[in-house]
């Protein structure tokens, strides 16, 4: 007599195991089909442009988006080709990337880290973006860069100036073309010293967040190395709109230079307030009182109006540069939109082209292949002279511009004049420089 061991529980167990067994190959085959996150399978590839479309930097974001649209046109062989014709690498030929037509989706960072991460995540998961790029804030850049590292996506940073983006918060999947606080300090200090002398007392007003700290540190260390004394450094709330209470005591401190480590609306308001208080008309310690703005943006300078006249600062790029790459980009952008591009537009355009070129040279969209292609990549013809994407920290090293507010602008775009093109040798630093200490690049993550 045989005894049947078939029970209801047994059938359920067996069914579950069998079901799982059947499902596993399907799951594996799905991942096997994609060697990395969002591997393009059709005849097009999707790029994700994550820029501030609302919030205080919406105008800067709009300019970034214009540049990206132009880059997509050029990658797909439309328009005049812009900087692709001056770019030293000739891998791209105007037929998309690896023969795939370039399409794009956009996200709104709102200049808020959480919103930027959410929009990047959506573009990666829902739209299948293979690369994320853009932004106008270091906080956003650091947050999105970390997300892209986890997701196995390449992040080509937009406008981010904090040392930390390629310092303590650097990631293997992230790359920055824009310059940083250290470079601003290294480029500005000698010019300031030549213009105002070595015996100066500086008073810093610093935006109370990450970028403000690294900029203050960079400027103080560079100027102190040339003999300046830092009298005081006061943190100002990011939400502050009226800086009169912070500016009024500056003259009482004995300082003869005010350094405004502010960007965006903060910079517009603090500079306007400083000029209102007549600081620039004063004489202190037998010298003319001076104001310095370490990071200039043409769009922000426009907000400050005539107050920027004669004030030194640094910038990543300016449309008045005469090299072939800059001129090609200005012509292309200006013809399409009717006004010259901002530095934010320039860095975003370059980042999009550099990514496409890296994929083309690597012969693969695999993020690790792209990382390998970009690391140590040397190029020219993109507006800043010979440039290196350093492998150690994924920071671009190139010439930095020291600019000054123009005394007699000929138009609303003609606000800054280039005082000096600081050679890259003067702004480069070792990867283990104290201002970039902490964090590790890690290894590339292809995702999937």
């Amino acid at each position: 007599m045989t005894k049947s061991h078939v029970t209801r529980r047994g059938i359920l167990k067996s069914g579950t195991v069998a079901g799982a067994g059947l499902a596993v190959p399907t799951i594996f085959s799905a991942t096997d089909a994609s060697a990395f996150t969002n591997e393009p399978t059709g005849d097009s590839v999707v790029l994700g442009f994550n820029v501030p479309q609302t919030g205080p930097y919406a105008d800067e974001g709009a300019d970034e988006l214009r540049a990206y649209e132009l880059a997509v046109e050029h990658l797909n062989g439309e328009g005049d080709g812009g900087m692709m014709s001056t770019f030293s690498s000739k891998a791209l030929s105007g037929n998309g990337i690896l023969g795939k037509k370039v399409t794009y989706v956009t996200g709104d960072t709102q200049t808020k880290s959480d919103a930027a991460r959410a929009s990047a995540k959506s573009m990666i998961e829902k739209d299948g973006a293979i690369m994320i790029t853009g932004g106008s804030s270091s906080g956003v850049a650091v947050a999105v860069q970390a997300l892209c590292q986890e997701a196995g996506i390449i992040f080509m940073a937009g406008l981010t100036h904090s040392n930390d983006t390629t310092g303590k918060d650097k990631r293997a999947n992230g790359f920055r073309h824009f310059f940083n606080s250290y470079m601003s300090g290294a480029a500005l200090a000698p010019v300031l010293s030549a213009a105002y002398g070595n015996d100066r007392k500086a008073y810093h007003l610093t935006a109370d967040y990450n970028w403000g700290y690294t900029t203050e540190e960079a400027i103080t260390s560079s100027t102190e190395a040339l003999g300046w004394e830092t009298v005081n450094a006061v943190k100002t709330p990011l939400t502050e709109t009226d800086f009169s209470a912070y500016i009024a005591p500056v003259l009482q401190s004995g300082a003869d230079v005010l350094v405004l480590n502010h960007y965006g609306g903060n910079m517009v308001n603090s500079l306007t307030n400083a000029v209102q208080f007549g600081l620039r008309d004063k004489q202190v310690n037998g010298k003319n009182f001076e104001v310095v703005v370490p990071l200039y943006s043409r769009l922000m300078a426009k907000g400050a109006g005539a107050n920027v006249k004669g004030i030194f600062g640094s910038t990543n790029w300016h449309w008045s540069l005469s090299d072939a790459g800059s001129q090609a980009f200005v012509k292309s952008f200006g013809t399409k939109y009717g006004f010259p591009p901002s530095q934010a537009a320039h860095t975003c355009y370059v980042q999009a082209i550099l990514y496409a070129d890296a994929v083309q040279r690597a012969g693969s969209f695999n993020p690790c292949a792209v990382v390998e292609a970009l690391e140590g990549f040397e190029f020219d013809g993109m507006g800043n002279g010979p440039t290196l994407y350093r492998a150690d920290d994924h920071q671009c090293f190139k010439d930095v511009l020291v600019v000054k507010g123009k005394e007699n602008p000929s138009s609303e775009f003609d606000l800054l004049e280039i005082v000096e093109v600081t050679p890259v040798d003067q702004v480069i630093y070792p990867p283990d420089h104290p201002q970039f200490a902490g964090g590790a690049l890690g290894t590339c993550n292809p995702g999937a």
Partner: protein, 343 residues
Amino acid sequence: MDAIILQIMNGLDKGSAYALIALGLTLIFGTLGVVNFAHGALFMIGAFCAVTLSRLLTLSHEVIDETRTDFLGNPLKVDVPYLYDFFGTDVGNVLIDWSVPLSIIFAFPIMIAFGVIMERGLIKHFYKRPHADQILVTFGLAIVLQEVIKYFFGANPIPTPAPAAFVGSFDFGALLGFNANQIIYPYWRLVYFLFAIIVIGVVFAFLHLTTFGMVVRAGMADRETVGLLGINIDRRFTIMFGLAAAVAGLAGVMYTPINSPNYHMGMDFLVLSFVVVVVGGMGSLSGAVLAGFLLGILQSFASMAIVIEMIPGINQVIIYLVAIIILLTRPRGLMGKKGVMEE
């Protein structure tokens, strides 16, 4: 001593803006019982009236300057304001230079009309609704207004300078016997302070010295009884809403040379102004003015480097800290009246 005088002066102009916005807020709350979260947006609309007039005055036609080139290398197109054609360069320049003060005339009727339309078109439908509903709808309106402004004017601040005669600062310390440059104060901020005093004075005079104002005050105290006397108090309250909008708008107009206006500037002032109203006492006009100046001065003191060194972060919380202390010790605020928002 000089540092103290300096911060008091700084606080006065900051307090002027708080006081003007809070005065309008209190007027609306006192007359209509509406908690108007769109009041900051009215301040912003006023500022953009100044921007609009400035743009109207600089409406230009292009003239080709063959001697210069634009960024594309083409002959430069130079904008020549029509005002130059109509009145000559000298008069045109003066009108453009004085665009902010002229904006007072431009903005006043616009803000009155805006306030009346806002009250008749939207706010009146929420009189009998809970304060939470009023806050939601007015806050929503504020966001809509700022997005409209952003659509037309962009997100970047727009420089709107003071007339050249008021650019720079004067050495107030020298008048008091201090060393040079110890107490400097911008001319335009002094103008702003005086302007605020005049506007506050006019509003109080209007309420206390005119029949219209007396009826409004009577209505604020007992709306029903005034209505029973056959007086159309609703119409008067609508006009008061328009007046409150105009006060906020004019405060915004004159503020433009202090900080370049942007679409978000109303929100920057809104929360602080509500704190001012609460500290001053809900419904108390003189309380709003007093609290405005008081909190402005305290905020200036809290922003001194030495104070921040002693108590880090005090500059960011001082107003709220003072609000807590005052509300704990005087629950109705500095000059609040019994019965307001206490049912």
